[in-house]
């Protein structure tokens, strides 16, 4: 049984950044992301796994899920969500991004994620189960 509930943040007009990002990815990336979520769902302590990283400093309040797709070329991805959870064992995905060396795609992914986080905290938008 899943130990976590994964949610997705939706803005007005049913705009859901994480689902839009997912839909735009190659099907292999989608599958690799879902597999990463499967094992994270089964892991009680996310602080004890390389698959997840709590961000600090200017990005404090966010956490990134880490997964890669073997290549060539190897592609690395960092979907971002709210951390620590507002409700225990519930992670809210905000958006997805790809990491190419030190460059993120989209470039402003973390700034955008922080903006979404603020909007959610101010009562804007909704969260729904991420499927």
């Amino acid at each position: 049984m899943a130990l976590w509930r994964i949610m997705a943040y939706h803005l007005a007009g049913d705009f859901c950044p994480i689902q839009d990002w997912y839909a735009a990815q190659d099907i292999e990336v989608q599958a690799a992301f879902d597999a990463a979520l499967t094992t994270l769902n089964a892991t009680a302590d996310w602080s004890d796994t390389w698959q997840f990283k709590e961000l600090t400093k200017t990005h404090a309040g966010l956490g990134e899920i880490r997964f890669k797709l073997d290549g060539p070329p190897i592609r690395r991805f960092r979907p971002v969500g709210i951390w620590p959870p507002i409700i225990p064992n519930e992670f809210i995905l905000l958006l997805g991004c790809e990491k190419n060396r030190s460059v993120y795609i989209p470039q402003d992914a973390f700034t955008l994620a922080l903006a979404y986080k603020r909007r959610w905290e101010q009562g804007e938008g909704e969260i729904h189960d991420y499927i």
Partner: protein, 171 residues
Amino acid sequence: MITFRDIWRKLSHRKYREQYALSLLKRSVAFQIKTLRKKHCGSQAILAERSQLTQGVVSRAEDQEYGNLTFNTVGRIAAGLDMAFIGKFVPWSELAKFSRDLSEDQFANIPTFEEENTSLQTDPPTDSSFQTGNMAASQGETEFNSGGTERKPMGTVEDQAKMAAAGTGGR
């Protein structure tokens, strides 16, 4: 919450299911090794010693992104944990159920040989429970020997050898 139906719908795309199965294979073996190591050994160093591997190899084996584990390494780690590892081919529906039900608890309760042997000595399983792989659920139902009526503990290999030598039969 992800349901069987959600997973099954995505598996309908061939490229998706091929990549999902590959990613999950790499991740779930590493996930199991880490879960079992924490329960039975504590540190990677202890598991490495019991498996006759280096701590670095155990660390890589627990890395869900690594994916280049050999059968030899997995077999050694299984031996270090005193458990068996069986890779087997399954239908896609079984993968979907495995995904839906995956959790640390599922693996944290796998007993070592000694733990299992102790429980089998006191409450031996039936032949049918061996066939279904559900020994724990059916212990104590009927006798282990399907051809006979006498209920006997299974015993270790050593016990069986002693019984054979004494002419009492161990099976």
